[in-house]
């Protein structure tokens, strides 16, 4: 039947082409990252470690918070610094702000048009201004959490750490708490739009990877949970490998030779028992069951997470306010100059590793969620095409559905893209 | 206590007439509301507000005996751009007049040599009108005026009238097919007239580079410093000597100027390049 190329898939973060090739029974979908090269792993070499957080936060404008926090934690681990619990709590708060912001952009600006059959969220300005205002209010709230903790919503300025002990003023904290309380119902309202939406059901996902959690859904620390068990991040790193596809400027990752999925859905699949509060009630109300094998459920998982994270933020703030003084001193032992941090970005597992020498970076490796998802996207999209063909969908419709499917992974190509097709950099970086 | 009137607040005024002078220059006639007359000395300026865009200084180009005021404006930026989009009947704001104008007292019964370049004719036009109205009070009057091209000459349709009273000489930097007059910088016109340097007051206004050369030439012709006057252009925001932007050597161009005597300028410690005064 031929080849369909979706050029610069609209409504995702970054530039991705998707090529659907149908040659009889042979169906292949290629996720072709087109973002120009932004080789962060390379430009970090030779830099002072203190410059790293400012630079890596520029990997992505949507998830700049988590990149910043992850790099700081990896460098701390290289220097033998263990941040105090209070520092971790403050960082988790900032991260939550980032996640909620990112999920809202994904769900409303990117996915909602698919649900409503329109081209853009901004068409609702006239049709449903009330909804737009609600979404903007919650997004504003998420941003104000980031701002209070790190100075700016995009490319945060500080990361709570021992060196720059920066604390939000109590004023700001109370304002945020008030707003969290005042907007509870709005958050529930807007999440329900996705929880009640009908999505296609394709039970194809199998390999879910995320941080393993103990008492709340972990975002910053912990082991990694996979279908082959829970393991230390280092062990996980040894079992994944990057493939350089000549059609893509981003690496594609496999775990034990197989495609796997990271993101909201993986987090909930692996940690569902920890989902509590209103999010849990909502899951029950809408008969959602986790683990789920459908990628479209990733959208519902994000909607639940928005509710969960905002309640979690309220809880953390309340807890911190009760303390007379926060402990911002970190423990310092001798570091061995190698640092690794595995965290949960809005879109899934994120790993930064750095090797230092005399305070300078000699190598860096940043493994982003989207890069880890790309193979999975290709695999599931191929199967979805087959299923659609079997149901006699025409190419136009198939194209739409594939866009929807790819979008549901919430891909972020800005983070993932790493090298140029024409040179061997990719091969060098990922031997 | 606080004085009654707030000098930062412009008086409302209405545009009553707009005339195109050149492709980028227009003359606006403005009537100040609730005010029957507007008195000023030629050489003074006003601050004109276009609400929403800001305020800028413009020389008064009209006649002293008229109730309405005229300014000639070149479109160059924010305020002038917005003014050009205005129509007859639109409201603007006016503060002023500000500054000291041409030294009319000193000029009485003496010969006058006026040298203007480009838009610099605007503040001199009101002087020309004044002289014509009071022609018998002055001796010989020369007006040497240069523009870039014939199309850039301001107030062309007044030249005939002017010529009946004063000695008008024109030049352009670059002529066209119809131009029969002089071509060259305005300084060449100084060769066309023979003035008595002792009893002539020279007044100039124009781009800095023009005034620089004119001053040099006047000096070489033997004009005493006391008989040369020029109008300086500096950035000014308040017009009342507060914002500090227009000072030269600590002198406020908006209140002590814009017209300065060359002899004064020479005593300034800061360089005034447009007057050809460069210390150090």
């Amino acid at each position: 039947m031929g080849v369909v190329r979706i050029v610069e898939l609209p409504r995702i973060e970054g530039h991705l082409d998707v090529e659907i090739e149908i040659l009889g029974e042979d169906i292949r979908v290629r996720a072709m990252a087109r973002e120009g090269i932004r080789i962060y792993d390379m430009i970090l070499r030779g830099r002072e470690y203190s410059e790293v957080p400012d630079i890596v936060s520029r990997m992505c404008g949507v998830c700049s918070v988590i990149h910043r926090v992850t790099s700081v934690m990896a460098i701390e681990s290289a220097l033998g610094i263990t941040p105090s619990d209070d520092i971790l709590a403050l960082r988790e708060l900032a991260t939550i702000g980032g996640h909620v912001q990112s999920h809202l952009i994904h769900l409303f600006y990117f996915i909602l048009p698919d649900v409503l059959g329109i081209d853009s969220f901004i068409r609702l300005i006239d049709k449903n201004p009330g909804l737009i205002k609600k979404v903007m209010r919650i997004k504003g709230l998420a941003n104000s959490i980031i701002e209070a903790l790190s100075g700016r919503a995009v490319h945060p300025i500080t990361t709570v750490n021992a060196e720059t002990s920066f604390l939000p003023s109590r004023d700001k904290v109370y304002r945020i708490l008030d707003e969290l309380k005042a907007t509870k119902n709005i958050t529930l309202d807007i999440s329900k739009i996705f929880l009640e939406a009908e999505f296609p059901d394709i039970p194809k996902e199998e390999n879910f990877v995320s941080l393993a959690s103990r008492d709340s859904i972990n975002l910053l620390t912990g082991k990694i949970s996979t279908t082959s068990g829970v393991m230390e991040p280092q062990a996980f790193l040894e079992r994944i490998n990057a493939i350089v596809e000549e059609y893509s400027t981003a690496p594609h990752f496999l775990f034990d030779g197989k495609a796997y999925m990271v993101g909201s859905l993986s987090r909930l699949n692996n940690n569902y028992p920890l989902l509590n509060g209103s999010a849990r009630d909502l899951a029950k109300e809408f008969n959602l069951t986790f683990p789920s094998n459908s990628i479209f459920m990733n959208n519902k998982a994000q909607a639940l997470e928005i509710v969960y994270f905002l309640e979690r933020a309220e809880e953390i703030l309340g807890r911190l306010l009760e303390k007379d003084e926060l402990k911002l001193q970190s423990e310092k032992k001798h570091g061995n100059n190698f640092g690794l941090a595995a965290t949960e970005a809005p879109r899934g597992l994120l790993i930064h590793t750095y090797q230092l020498e005399n305070g300078k970076i000699i190598s860096a490796n940043i493994i982003t969620p989207t890069a880890q998802n790309l193979k999975n996207i290709e695999k599931n999209a191929s199967e979805y095409v087959r299923a659609l063909l079997n149901n006699n969908f025409d190419l136009g419709e198939i194209r739409k559905q594939i866009e929807f499917l790819v979008r549901s992974y919430d891909p972020c190509i800005s983070c993932a893209a790493r090298f140029r097709k024409s040179n061997n950099l990719g091969k060098k970086l990922y031997k | 206590m606080v004085s009654m009137k707030n000098p930062y607040i412009p008086t409302k005024a209405i545009i009553t007439h707009i005339r195109n002078e050149t492709p980028d220059t227009k003359t606006f006639r403005i009537r100040i509301l609730d005010q029957n007359e507007f008195s000023f000395t030629p050489g003074q300026f006003i601050q004109l507000s276009v609400f929403g865009f800001g305020e800028a200084p413009f020389s008064i180009a009209g006649s002293t005996n008229e109730k309405e005021l005229e300014i000639t404006v070149r479109r160059i930026g924010t305020v002038t751009g917005a003014l050009f989009r205005k129509n007859v009947g639109d409201i603007v704001g006016v503060r002023g007049p500000f500054g000291k104008g041409w030294p009319i007292g000193l000029m009485l019964r003496r010969n006058i040599l006026i040298i203007a370049g480009g838009l610099g004719l605007a503040p001199l036009r009101s002087l020309v009108h004044y002289i014509i109205l009071n022609r018998e009070e002055f001796g010989k009057v020369y007006l040497l005026y240069g523009a870039r091209t014939p199309a850039d000459l301001l107030y062309k349709d007044e030249f005939n009238t002017w010529s009946r009273y004063i000695d008008l000489h024109l030049t352009v930097d670059k002529g066209d097919n119809y131009w029969k007059g002089r071509v060259g910088l305005v300084t060449i016109l100084l060769d066309d007239v023979s003035v008595d340097t002792e009893d002539t007051i020279a007044l100039q206004c124009g781009p800095p580079i023009m005034m620089h050369f004119v001053s040099k030439k006047l000096k070489s012709l033997g004009f005493p410093d006391e008989n040369i006057y020029l109008s300086l252009e500096r950035l000014m925001k308040c017009g009342m000597g507060f914002c500090g932007r227009c000072t030269v050597s600590g002198r406020y161009v908006c209140i002590e100027g814009p017209v300065f005597c060359y002899a004064d300028i020479k005593s300034f410690i800061e360089a005034i390049p447009e007057a050809g005064v460069e210390h150090a």
Partner: protein, 350 residues
């Protein structure tokens, strides 16, 4: 020896006094905000800090000529403009500024003189006349202080209502105006009679402070003026220009730098707008940029000289006073550490 009337205020009575004053006046004072001491409105007298050893980051001028101020607002309706003057707000507010040091008091006198010229600037002058000034004498000096040289401190000559000199457990209050006098007589329980030694105590304190100060040898101000006039074209200015970063910090931090910019701000509808003024700096290239693109002080040295000459020459021509009060703020904040005392010494020594 001081000629003005003196009283005694025991330190534990200060808050009581400020409390009473706050019933009539809005109180402004140095106050601790996130680790910095800044001049600001205080809601409660407990915010008045007892710490007299650091001075606010920005001088008191910001309370009279704010960093940013709306001069008037307007509304464009059909083809008309309705202007609403913001001056009323200024005129209505009664303020009491507490904790002003001698150098800042002197700077207010300079601003008063300057902004009274011509039609007068009703905002600055309005605030000056609505504000009661309660000064306080420095207990120690900063490394950059040289108010003795400029004859502006440590004891101010005039321009205050009350001026407190810190002596052990009490203040000697110098009555500087009729308004100050009234306050004293209305609060006799707080303003006790001064002891006959108190005038001497002030004298000693002044001597002590002056002896701590690193100020250039005092010269007659006309001598200083002439020396500056003679030095305009000397080469050493280039050396300073090489060091100066043209960052403009010295302007903003100087209690007597007043230059400003004015512009209009308008909402997207082009209906409601306001005319705003903000501080500007003669160190910026844009300061003298005219429409034709000409910049009259393109050389860094000409801009640096503009600031310094304004203080010691132009200001004397204009208002009869030098407009440096010897606070040293400009070089305290200067990233290049260009010390004005150094410049003065150079100028005086030839």
């Amino acid at each position: 020896m001081i000629k003005k009337a003196l009283r005694r205020i025991y330190k534990d009575k200060l808050r009581l006094l400020m409390g009473r004053l706050s019933e009539e006046y809005n109180i402004f004072s140095p106050k601790l905000v996130e680790g910095r001491i800044i001049f600001d409105r205080i809601d409660d007298v407990s915010e008045i800090i007892n710490e007299y050893h650091t001075r606010p980051v920005l001088p008191v001028k910001k309370l009279f000529l704010p960093q940013r101020e709306t001069l008037f607002e307007y509304e464009i309706v059909d083809n008309d403009v309705i202007i609403s003057d913001k001056l009323d707000l200024v005129a209505r507010e009664k303020r009491c500024i507490f904790g002003v040091r001698a150098c800042d008091i002197a700077s207010l006198q300079i601003l008063r003189r300057f902004f009274s010229r011509g039609p007068g600037d009703p905002y600055v002058i309005g605030r000056l006349s609505n504000s009661m000034i309660i000064g306080i004498m420095c207990n120690s000096v900063f490394p950059s202080c040289f108010c003795h040289f400029t004859d502006s401190g440590p004891l101010p000559k005039d321009g205050f209502d009350l001026f407190l000199v810190d002596v052990d457990d009490y203040f000697i209050a110098i009555i500087g105006s009729e308004r100050g006098n009234q306050i004293a007589s209305k609060n006799e329980d707080i303003f006790l009679d001064a002891n006959k030694d108190d005038a001497l105590a002030i004298d000693n304190k002044v001597k002590e402070i002056v002896s701590l100060m690193k100020s250039p040898p005092v010269v007659d101000q006309m001598v200083l003026y002439d020396a500056f006039v003679r030095s305009f074209n000397l080469d050493f200015w280039e050396d300073y220009a090489k060091k100066c970063l043209s960052c403009g910090k010295c302007n903003f931090n100087c209690p007597t730098c007043y230059c400003f910019d004015i512009f209009d701000e308008v909402d997207l509808d082009l209906r409601k707008g306001r005319r705003v003024r903000v501080w500007d700096s003669c160190h910026f290239l844009s300061f003298t940029r005219v429409a034709s693109g000409e910049i009259f002080r393109r050389n860094r040295s000409s801009r640096l000289k503009q600031r310094v000459y304004h203080k010691f020459v132009y200001s004397v021509n204009d208002i009869g006073l030098i407009s440096c009060v010897g606070c040293g703020r400009c070089f305290e904040v200067c990233p290049a550490s260009i010390d004005l005392r150094d410049i003065i010494t150079k100028v005086l020594c030839g």
